[in-house]
């Protein structure tokens, strides 16, 4: 084996397993008590003796607990594998990394597709309307179960960033730092509008049947369209032009409205693939939770942050038009006014919203140094080589 290959293999997390944490009930923001709750989660690296090296990764809309490594017998790595592993941004030789599938999800955690113990059938629309804060409250239970009182950091992009803000507002005493990436204090009408079109596509599918499709055919066409809309908003004009141009697919025309352009084929492929791994009702519940989220709770965000002793790193991307940089700047502005120690960087990426998964080098630099600073807490004494 040559040296280069060895290095590449050495910074992999390797084979990982998804675990399940179960608890009896969770009090939802609505006041309703809901349970039992299962949370699927994975961990990478080892918790140190004083339990001060734990980092919680929060996933985006279609993510899951499988953030890094590979499952036995499979070869697809976790969704943030480029960031998690030895010598990577979340260095598993130093840190203990946790990622769990959200409440309401469909990848091992309790969601609308799970069996309702009262009826012995899937919840479907009997599943309660959940919020980002509910999702975070469930995560908090998992973190407690793992014996961690204070997380070194909570890090996530997009909807993961909303969860980071929820941690910051609701559990500032349980985190030492927070990294919201490409996210917002609250959705703009434009963001709600895109989600609503996705939901309407699902509900307009004849197979949806008010959510009770689990014994029959799933509303795959509707969900695929929702995902196609999503993918358009995740890319930028430039990244689409670079990836597809106006190139046409090399197929014999059989139908007037066949997918001639590369971009059409790509969206269809993405849509069709998504329905194999995602539940349509979960999509409805989760996008609703995103739309309803407001980290400021209707107040001035800086008032909520005042006095918080958490270090914050905010990252945005220039070409992201779904979660534009101005929304990240609003987070930064509130931190400024509240006197919270904050660093902000707008990365000059052309990838659009997807950039948070793709700009490995820049994000790794920021995350690595930021986490190091928080972990060693050197602050004012400056015992640190430049």
């Amino acid at each position: 084996m040559n040296k280069e290959k060895k290095i590449i293999q050495n910074n992999k997390v390797g084979i990982v397993k998804t675990h399940t944490f179960s608890f009896d009930s969770l009090k939802l923001e609505s006041g309703e008590k809901f349970g039992p709750v299962n949370l699927a989660y994975e961990t990478y690296g080892f918790l140190n003796k004083d339990k001060s090296n734990a980092i919680l990764i929060t996933h985006a809309l279609s993510g899951d607990a499988h953030a890094a490594g590979v499952h036995e017998g499979k070869d697809n790595p976790g969704w943030w594998d480029d960031f998690i592993g030895p010598a990577k941004a979340f260095d598993t030789d130093k840190y203990f990394v946790i990622c769990s599938n959200i409440l309401g999800g469909c990848k091992g955690s309790t969601g609308p597709a799970s069996i309702n113990p009262k009826t012995a059938r899937p919840y479907a629309l009997d599943f309660p309307l959940i919020t980002i804060n509910d999702i975070v409250n469930a995560q908090k239970r998992l973190v407690e179960y793992l014996g961690i009182e204070k997380l070194l950091s909570v890090v996530g992009g997009s909807m993961g960033g909303q969860q980071v803000l929820s941690w910051l507002v609701n559990y500032p005493q349980n985190i030492r730092s927070a990294v919201p990436i490409a996210t917002t204090i609250k959705h703009s009408p434009q963001q709600i509008a895109f989600n609503e079109v996705g939901r309407q596509a699902i509900m307009a599918d004849g197979h949806w049947k008010s959510g009770s499709y689990y014994e029959g055919t799933a509303p795959s066409k509707g969900l695929a369209v929702a995902r196609m809309i999503g993918h358009i908003t995740y890319m930028s004009d430039k990244s689409m032009a670079e990836k597809f141009g106006r190139a046409k697919k090399d197929i014999a025309e059989t139908f007037k409205f066949t997918a001639d352009f590369e971009v059409e084929g790509y969206l269809r492929y993405r849509g069709d693939n998504f329905v194999k791994r995602f539940d349509a009702n979960s999509y409805l519940y989760i996008t609703k939770a995103m739309d309803n989220f407001d980290a400021s709770g209707g107040r001035r965000f800086e008032e909520i942050l005042r006095g918080i002793k958490v270090k914050v790193l905010v990252i945005s991307f220039k070409s992201d038009w779904l979660y534009p940089a101005y929304q990240s700047k609003e987070i930064v502005k509130a931190c400024k006014l509240a006197g919270v120690e904050t660093t902000y960087c707008e990365i000059a990426s052309t990838y659009g919203h997807d950039a948070f998964l793709l700009e490995v080098e820049e994000e790794t630099h920021l995350l690595k140094h930021f986490l190091k600073k928080v972990f060693y807490a050197y602050e004012v004494t400056g015992d640190y080589g430049a």
């Binding site: 120690e341 902000y344 630099h365 430049a386």
Partner: protein, 197 residues
């Protein structure tokens, strides 16, 4: 860090800042000054910088820094939220100097301004004998590639402060290798002023 390794203007600013102060550096570049202030003065610091690559260097030093331009970055700070606001070698590159200076005096209890002296004798000689826009140690750019938007002299700045009712608490003028008290507007390459309102 040994004193001789510190940039002359940074050394001057270091002397102007009391230990354990809070400092906001507008246009902090690679963060060298802020890093020094942490090490030497136990200061609590925050930087604002427009250049993305400079942000990465600041973060590598463990500094808190905001990526953005100085012209729009000040409004969001509350009154007197820093002991010092520093504009070192950034004043001449700001679009709305007057507005930013007034806001800096609102946000900081004191403001430190450092800028290249356009009336330095080398500039004057180049203007006079060559009839060309001066290129000197403190003003190293050709006219077509300079990031500087404003050209001011030490006398200009003093006059500005007088008109605006700004107190000059300290003024340090530095030449090529040392502080020059003699005819500063002629022999100083850089002027550094501690001002307050």
């Amino acid at each position: 860090m040994a004193r001789k390794d510190i940039q002359l203007d940074h050394g001057v600013i270091l002397d102007l800042i009391k230990p354990h102060s809070t400092v906001l550096d507008l246009g902090c570049g690679n963060g060298d000054l802020l890093y020094l202030l942490i090490k030497e003065k136990n200061a609590r610091v925050q930087g604002i910088e427009i250049d993305e690559q400079a942000i990465y260097k600041c973060v590598a030093k463990g500094l808190n820094v905001f990526h953005g331009d100085v012209d729009s970055g000040l409004a969001e700070f509350s009154d007197k939220s820093f002991d010092y606001v520093v504009l070192n070698q950034s004043l001449q590159q700001i679009l709305h100097v007057d507005k930013v200076l007034i806001d800096a005096l609102r946000v900081g209890k004191k403001v430190i301004v450092g800028f290249p002296n356009f009336a330095h004798y080398k500039s004057r000689l180049q203007m006079f004998f060559q009839g060309r826009t001066p290129v000197t140690g403190a003003l190293p750019y050709q006219w077509y590639e300079t990031p500087n938007l404003h050209f001011l002299s030490i006398s200009d700045f003093k006059r500005y402060c007088r008109i605006k009712g700004i107190n000059i608490e300290r003024g340090v003028c530095i030449g090529v290798t040392r502080k020059t008290p003699f005819l500063p507007n002629l022999f100083a390459e850089t002027g550094i002023f501690l001002i307050s309102k």
